[in-house]
């Protein structure tokens, strides 16, 4: 089966190659928009968005605005699953006939495609889209060899959600330093309840301790990358991580960061850390009104509003504190970038779509929906409730994975999942870090 599937990828690649060599007049070769050109030829363009992070109202706004601004043309939005996105893009983007015209790609996945030449150069469009105001870490992740290839769509900073009732029962307050966080988490932990939901493979959250203590996942020296988990700063963070694994969580070591709100909703965890949009997934039993998800009657809507208010009343949220009081931790930033596939035949229309996405109007709508917009100028649109405050505080210091060309290999080989799992099962931190560093260095310098 596997051989066949690989061969199929090979065939797709072969077809893509022949398609590309025969079409000399293909727009893929001319990425610069022609200055003098009249309106581009009308066409239907495809936008790939991943998961359900972009709400329906925003999708509708895009399709209607695009149709209005580009008479005769149409925008179709196709939703892709985050799972298995990279292989899917690998095949789709290399085929002129199958490629979408604008794609969303996870920020840590960007480098894979920018260095491979899968995206068109957006350097000349970059100032018009927002220039320096765009989230700098994301722009860096979307830049290859000095050219901007992908631009930030949105960011979701991590914040800690907590059960207010459990805090009251245990007599603890919102922690003010990272060390305090561990103390609080330990106090909340009982036989059945995790003070902090921290599954063994959850390196997205684990990275917070490394970054905050001044450590890195990998560092660059000239042309070579080196795993940096064994540096003194990283080790300090990792020891705190192991302490949490040992004493403050009942989360299984063989589980990842997926859906941490499930144990929270079941009352099995007092705290979990996730992007702030997780607020919509909180569903405490004492607040559940038993409304069907597809019920759109007024009564159901009212009940849903009541339910959400109740959930938010029982749930608190704070940005992970830093090493000292009044500072914030450096968390791992989730989020995504947008790029125009080099093989798309509708470069100009695709650029028009990007202009709509980076318009003040759309950026503000992203903010209103709890996503940190790609253009930082519009971050205020997130409002000033506790969620927005926590999100913005966390986002200020947020950091991405190393902008290495081969970073996706590290994720693909699940090196960090394996590593954090080892830490969670009580392995020696320094020895495990050394072994993982070796694997990371090998993967990054291939």
């Amino acid at each position: 089966m596997k051989i066949l599937r690989f061969a199929a990828v090979g065939v797709a690649a072969a077809l893509a190659l022949t398609a590309c060599s025969s079409g000399d007049d293909s727009p893929a070769e001319t990425t610069k928009p022609s200055e003098s050109a009249a309106a581009p030829e009308a066409a239907t363009i495809k936008l790939w968005l991943n998961g359900t992070d972009t709400p329906d109202a925003l999708r509708e706004y895009l399709t209607t605005t695009f149709a209005a601004q580009n008479p005769g043309s149409k925008l179709v939005i196709e939703q892709q699953d985050w799972n298995g996105l990279v292989p899917r893009l690998q095949t789709a983007l290399s085929s002129e006939d199958q490629t979408p015209d604008v794609v969303e790609v996870g920020n840590t996945q960007s480098a894979t495609f920018t260095y491979a030449g899968a995206f068109s150069d957006l350097t000349s469009l970059y100032p018009e889209l927002g220039g320096d105001k765009l989230l700098p870490g994301f722009v860096e992740a979307g830049t290859a060899d000095g050219k901007v290839m992908a631009v930030p769509y949105y960011s979701g900073a991590r914040a800690v959600f907590y059960n207010k009732d459990m805090f009251k029962d245990a007599g603890v307050e919102v922690p003010t330093t990272l060390a305090d966080f561990t103390t609080v988490a330990k106090k909340l932990t009982t036989d059945k309840v995790s003070g902090f939901w921290f599954p063994g493979q959850d390196w997205y959250n684990g990275a917070t301790w490394i970054y905050t203590n001044g450590g890195e996942l990998a560092t660059q020296d000239g042309d070579t990358w080196k795993g940096a988990l064994e540096s003194a700063d990283s080790i300090k963070g990792l020891e705190q991580v192991q302490d949490l694994f040992k004493t403050a969580t009942k989360a299984p070591a063989d589980s990842d960061s997926n859906e941490p709100w499930v144990p929270f909703n079941q009352g099995k965890a007092a705290m979990f850390s996730a992007p702030t949009w997780a607020r919509w997934s909180i569903d405490l039993p004492e607040c559940n009104e038993g409304v069907a998800a597809d019920d759109t009657s007024d009564d159901a809507t009212a009940k849903r509003t009541k339910q959400q208010a109740c959930n938010e009343e029982h749930t608190g949220v704070f940005a992970m504190p830093g090493l000292t009081a009044d500072s914030f931790a450096t968390a791992f930033a989730g989020g995504s970038n947008l790029g125009i596939p080099a093989k798309s035949k509708h470069q100009e229309l695709a650029q028009n779509l990007l202009k709509i996405i980076f318009s003040a109007d759309f950026q503000n709508q992203l903010g209103k929906n709890g996503l940190i917009p790609g253009n930082t100028e519009y971050a205020t649109s997130m409002g000033d409730d506790v969620y927005a405050k926590a999100a913005i505080a966390a986002a200020l210091g947020a950091k991405l994975t190393p902008a290495a060309e081969n970073w996706a290999t590290v994720e693909g080989d699940r090196i960090l999942e394996d590593f954090f799992q080892k830490i969670a099962t009580g392995a020696d931190v320094t020895a495990s870090a050394k072994a993982a560093d070796q694997l990371i260095s090998d993967a990054l310098n291939k």
Binding site: F6, Q90, L93, S94, A116, P199, G200, N406, T425
Partner: protein, 314 residues
Amino acid sequence: MAATAPTVSGTTTPSVPPLRRRRPKLGAYGLLVPASILIGVALGYPLVRQFVISFQEYGLKQQFGAPAEWVGLQNYTDLLTDSYVWTVIGRSVAFCFVNAIVTMVIGMSLAVLMQRIGRAARITLQVSLLLAWGTPVLASMTVWQWLFDTQNGVINWVLSHVLGIDSMAQHSWIIEPLSFFFVATVIVVWMSVPFVAFSIYAGLLQVPAETMEAAQLDGASARQRFWGITIPMIRPVLSIVLLLQVIWDLKVFTQIYVLQRAGAPTRDTNLLGTLIYSYSKEFGMAGALATIMLVLTLALTGFYIRQMLKEDEL
């Protein structure tokens, strides 16, 4: 095979009859055309392509249009000098043989059982086997994953709540490589037993009752009849089924991949299939490893296939 036979007789007598014979021969070749095209396109081309790529530096850049560079045997030497690749090859071969043998033993036992039990029981057994065989792999993998889940799994619940083994309440089945392969073996065997059981059962039905009766009259015990008559008679079936099992179990992918994603340590549990998949950005390496796997499969089964073909000729 049969189509070539007339040629020999045709050359010895170049008169009228050969003409008559040649017509069906052409027809026979004609009938082979659709199948050949299908195999050529669906199997041959990818295989050639894989082979060619395995001698190239072929990654994402090349997929997006950069020229592929010939690197000779570089991919192969890189792989074969990596001790990790050898670990995975050893692991795969061991996993393959354990699974093939366990599957054969259980399949054989069920086939014999089917022959001995009453009609109602047999049909119940057959239907259950068919259901296990017919369930889509991913669907049944989800069920198995839930059964073995650390927190909410039925197996841990039964062990801790029903049988009272408290230490099993939060036991992780897949975090230790050996335990992981035990779970994987249970699943893979469960999925392949029905095929083996039915094939062998079909073979058993072909053993003539008269022979068995004669042996019984001669005083052969049930055990003697089974090992002395039944087994030799169904040997061709056993050979083919075992051969297929070895091939299938060597290239097992889905079950391992899903279990890994359920939270197992990936590097410690990779088999050849998942290792090739992990080279999804370096097609050159993936192609080379897939070719190595093909050679390995041929090496493991080549002797066996020759043996079977020989028996066929007799």
